[in-house]
């Protein structure tokens, strides 16, 4: 009964109950993009990896870039939601669920991209059957599966109260199976003091867990590159650098999600400029860190100018000039200016900056992966242009688009299943006005 009174569900219920025509059109559009991706995937299965732009020198391309990108967003979601939860940040309520969704959804998509890179998908079970602990890929398999497991539990604990609220809200106009599902998933939670205490403890533990798992997983991912001897990859800074880049990209994606849901579900009263500025400041701090790590990494390579590092830097400033400038200059400086200077700090500006940051971080991964593979120790001597320079084919781009579409689709469906803003007090002890700030 207590829950029911506090319940702001009345206002959020239409979100779950109805889907507008635009909403359906959006879902159909996403399904079409995913369909194209499926077609591209079948091409790759039946005609071999030759349909991609990858060749013997650049053996990893856009797929790995997407893998790092989605995993990055995911870990960022975990770090941000975990940290906001642990520090009991007052303004977190309207945005924390989005961060949790980002974590889990991108965590489901990321590993799919590494699977696209694998020549023999039929032998995937070998990773477990014949796994060798010496290989960083095995570390990754262990770390990512732990992460998926941990993040799912964290998300579940975070939505449990809302599931109970949805179960108890009689006015909800939803098909019976949905109501039954809420009932089953709510696990008999009624909000007794004992249940609340247990749930709070579990959530605290899981928040701390997902933060540490996220750091470990993203470092392991970075080590896949830095344990090799390749110029540009063989760097001790890669672990922390990747972690920072990940959280940075995640903060930007969170801003984009806030902007989209604010508009689509008319949440202007709940997600205010205050929230954009708050997440914007997180983004600013991370931008500074990211810029520092990037600078530190390239400075040492450039100053010492070992032959192969020099060749790599030449390549970056020649063939990869624009991606390099966008990701390492624009992507670092723009948030510092836009969020740093009070005058520019508007919702639109912060959102536009977030778009630039997301793009620049994707490019950042691209110029980490591709140029190194294009400048190995032994110069590439080949007459075939596709062997010399990597350029992704329509198959890779379609699957990339499909990945983004799956992300949007799952996010849309998730917001149809459970309110995008938590409707029940997370701490239980909070006052009514706190819930909706």
């Amino acid at each position: 009964m207590e829950l029911q009174q506090k319940n702001p569900l009345k206002e959020f219920a239409p979100q779950l109950e109805q889907t507008s025509i635009q909403g359906y059109a959006w879902i159909i559009f996403l399904l079409a993009v995913i369909g194209l991706g499926v077609y591209a995937f079948l091409q790759q299965v039946f005609h071999g990896h030759e349909v991609t732009g990858m060749r013997d020198n650049v053996v990893w391309g856009v797929y790995i870039v997407n893998f790092i990108f989605f995993m990055g967003i995911s870990y960022a979601g975990a770090l941000i939601s975990g940290t906001l939860h642990l520090f009991k940040t007052a303004w977190r309520k309207p945005v924390i669920r989005m961060a949790e969704f980002i974590t889990v959804i991108s965590l489901l998509i990321g590993p799919c991209f590494i699977l696209l890179c694998i020549g023999r998908l039929d032998r995937l079970p070998y990773l477990v059957l014949f796994g060798r602990i010496q290989s960083p890929i095995t570390w990754d398999v262990i770390a990512i599966s732990t992460d998926i497991f941990g993040c799912f539990i964290f998300l579940y604990l975070a939505v449990l109260r809302d599931l109970a609220t949805l179960r108890d809200y009689e006015l909800l106009r939803l098909p019976n199976w949905r109501k039954k599902l809420y009932k089953t998933l709510a696990l008999g939670y009624t909000g007794t003091p004992e249940q609340q205490q247990r749930l709070n403890r579990a959530t605290d533990i899981m928040a701390a867990m997902v933060i540490s798992i996220a750091i470990i997983v993203y470092s392991v991912l970075a080590w896949i590159f830095s344990v090799t001897l390749q110029p540009g990859w063989h760097s001790t800074i890669f672990g922390p650098y990747f972690v920072i880049a990940a959280v940075y990209s995640g903060s930007a994606v969170l801003i984009l999600a806030m902007w989209v849901f604010r508009r689509v579900y008319h949440l202007e009263a709940y997600i205010t400029k205050k929230h954009f500025v708050a997440v914007g400041v997180i983004m600013l701090v991370l931008a500074a860190f990211f810029g520092y790590f990037t600078f530190s990494d390239y400075l040492t390579k450039w100053y010492g100018s070992e032959k192969n590092d020099e060749l790599l830097i030449q390549l970056l400033f020649k063939e990869f000039y624009w991606p390099f400038i966008i990701s390492n200059y624009v992507g670092v400086l723009l948030p510092l200016l836009v969020v740093g200077i009070a005058r520019f700090r508007t919702i639109t500006n912060i959102t536009l900056t977030a778009i630039v940051v997301v793009i620049s971080l994707w490019l950042n991964r691209y110029i980490i992966v591709v140029p190194t593979l294009e400048s190995p120790y032994l110069p590439i001597q080949d007459a075939r242009p596709e062997w010399l320079n990597y350029s992704a084919t329509w198959v890779e781009w379609s699957l990339t688009a499909a990945g983004v579409a799956v992300f949007c689709l799952l996010f849309t469906l998730a917001s149809k299943f459970i309110t995008i803003i938590p409707v029940s007090g997370i701490e239980g002890e909070e006052k009514k006005e706190d819930v909706l700030i």
């Binding site: 290989s135 960083p136 890929i137």
Partner: protein, 320 residues
């Protein structure tokens, strides 16, 4: 007519028995695998050759009956006992004839786009001399490719050879980024050349290739087992490539044989990119006392191959 047929049958029966005895002898000396060396459909020539069994025993087999052994996948993990193979490449003699590449591709049933042996045109710095650089797999003693493989599809054997099991490889390509020498190749599709090989797959033969997996130079352990040197070494018209055993301290290119340690010390042999710490088993003799001008390497090259070297400092300088 009928008589002739009978005679043939008798002959073949006699031959079969003979082959059986050879195979049986193999079992008797402790290796059932010797049977794998004998081709029951071939005819005898009377010339005997010595072969090395997987147990390190030497065995005489008729040359005509001989086929290259295809040991099982399990057996291929072990390596030939008591051996440690090494290759020496004399850069002073290479003129980019590319016979090594062709023989290797033929022997391993590879398409033109897959080269286990590659020939580079290198020039260490502006003022130093350009030279042709044949590059097989270095079969490193500290192989990063082996460390990073998540499923143990690539492994280092007791005889120093690094092999790939294409039945195990999942095609993640981590070994390709792990190798600092760009040695490994990937089967981006099913190449028709793979079908030329009708024999069952063996990692030692490195054939038939499989789509979606990684392969590379294997030092031809199937040839070593029958006492031959790898395809590249025997095909080279200049005798650039020497193959041998560190413990026996001998290397040969088929016509000349040298004491390995003396050759390396007399001719200042070195290993490529020693600083990387991979400890290769391939040594190079510096390109001194050249037998050919570098230009000779462009001699009668396929235009597509010639095209490869157009961006090298040497070619660019020549153009000017």
């Amino acid at each position: 007519m009928e008589e002739e047929l009978n005679k043939n049958q008798k002959n073949s029966r006699r031959q079969f028995l003979k082959k059986g005895i050879i195979a049986g002898a193999g079992v008797a000396i402790g290796s059932g695998l010797i049977a794998a060396y004998v081709d029951a459909t071939a005819t005898e020539t009377g010339e005997k050759v010595k072969v090395l069994t997987t147990d390190g025993e030497i065995m005489e087999v008729d040359k005509g009956l001989l086929k290259l052994p295809r040991v099982s996948r399990e057996e291929s993990h072990k390596g030939i006992p008591g051996r440690k193979f090494v290759m020496v490449i004399d850069l002073g003699k290479c003129k980019n004839a590319r016979k090594c590449v062709e023989a290797c591709q033929k022997g391993h049933h590879l398409p033109k786009s897959q080269e286990f042996m590659k020939v580079y045109l290198l020039q260490d710095s502006e003022k130093t001399s350009p030279y042709w650089f044949p590059k097989p797999c270095f079969h490193c003693d500290n192989p990063l490719c082996v460390s990073v493989c998540p499923v143990g599809a690539t492994y280092k054997r007791s005889d120093g050879i690094v092999l790939i099991d294409n039945e195990r490889c999942i095609g993640c390509k981590f070994c390709m980024t792990g190798c600092p020498y760009s040695t490994r190749v990937f089967a981006w599709k099913h190449y028709p050349e793979f079908d030329e090989d009708k024999e069952p797959y063996s990692p030692e033969a490195g054939s038939p290739g499989q789509e979606g997996t990684v392969s590379k130079c294997d030092f031809c352990p199937d040839l070593i087992r029958v006492g031959k040197i790898p395809y590249c070494a025997s095909a080279c018209p200049m005798g650039v490539i020497y193959f041998g055993d560190v413990d026996e301290d001998t290397v040969t290119n088929g016509t000349e044989t040298f004491q390995f340690s003396k050759l390396i010390s007399d001719r200042a042999g070195y290993r490529y990119l020693e600083t990387l710490g991979t400890r290769p088993c391939v040594y190079y003799l510096p390109p001194v006392d050249r037998q050919f001008e570098v230009e000779r390497g462009f001699g009668d090259l396929d235009p597509a191959i010639k095209e490869r070297y157009k961006d090298t400092p040497y070619s660019k300088k020549n153009k000017q």
